[in-house]
Assembly symmetry: C2
Homo-oligomer: 215 residues x 2
Amino acid sequence: MSHPVSNETVEHQLNWRYATKTFDTARPVSDTDWQTLERALVLTPSSFGLQPWKFFVVTDPTVKANLKPATFNQSQVVDASHVVVFAIRRDLDEIEIDRFVARTAEVRGTTIESLSRFRQIMVGFFKSPKMDADEWATRQVYIALGFFMATAAMMGIDTCPIEGFDPAKYDEILGLNALGYGSVVVAAAGHRAAGDKYAAAAKVRFKHEDVIVRI
Amino acid sequence: MSHPVSNETVEHQLNWRYATKTFDTARPVSDTDWQTLERALVLTPSSFGLQPWKFFVVTDPTVKANLKPATFNQSQVVDASHVVVFAIRRDLDEIEIDRFVARTAEVRGTTIESLSRFRQIMVGFFKSPKMDADEWATRQVYIALGFFMATAAMMGIDTCPIEGFDPAKYDEILGLNALGYGSVVVAAAGHRAAGDKYAAAAKVRFKHEDVIVRI
């Protein structure tokens, strides 16, 4: 399929997007739309395809209320219908690599043995001296954050990315430590309230020529 | 505008996307499409809105050829019509914060003084003991990478994200050090060649229920 979405629509939606501060509590993301957004999360590309993450989708009002004080009391995590907690797989190890290799063999109908060289490359990569596996995984999770926000914008769904939260408290509230995961960034999703003054504020970006350099 | 792009189109395009290995050298991204993609890069959200980045767009054939050996000889950086080198602003300092505050005042028609509290919050944030400003900036750049790939997919444009390159060599070839920037990740963009066998390979993702946890 060529040019499934027009340039005008793309640019309009990316200009329409903003970090929503006030969500309309009466207008949750519909189940159908949320399903598409979850699929977008799952489809996020990652280095090696390793997907060093889980996405915790919080809709339970009590849990959302518990998250609020751990989010510097930002009300987006209560008002938005869906709160995605982007979490990394901590301390990536060979077990995780083997899980991925097994999944690759399963999906592609091949043997684990035929993937042994690919496996060795990954194992070697994570053993390299300068490697910080948690930080590497965190970078991958930020791809997912960008992928999620761009996709939501195309669908006319509002988001608010949130770095201002206490990861240790989130991990405790959501029980992530026991699972071997750790929260690194959050995004609230829903529909903007009519009165959110930030929606009308001029978008602040450096000039095009200060951001893009053509070589 | 509500639901500007249908769920079906969104899902179709995200499934259509893959890390393109062979680009059609006869089919560059058109100028019009590239303009939209550059605007998407500029519109990428970042924490504080600080945009700690520049995007170096390489189309010059000689420069692309020079990048190839610094990319483990991956031919995507030569065959794709556009190569984006995502670079962080190194060693973020108060000068950079002031540049952003000045731009905010300019775009929003307000005074720099009225933004002094916002400025102080940012200055304090970067002075916090655990802060690694380069790593923080790198995470923001990965938002841009995700934003870029999702947007391109909607437009039917192929991309290949590349972590397998030598940042020090890239910085030298592109002259980034002198500018205070450093390359952290790369994406090639163009149109897939008809024969790229990876286009037909089944997409490997963990099962939905292993990636998404509802709470």
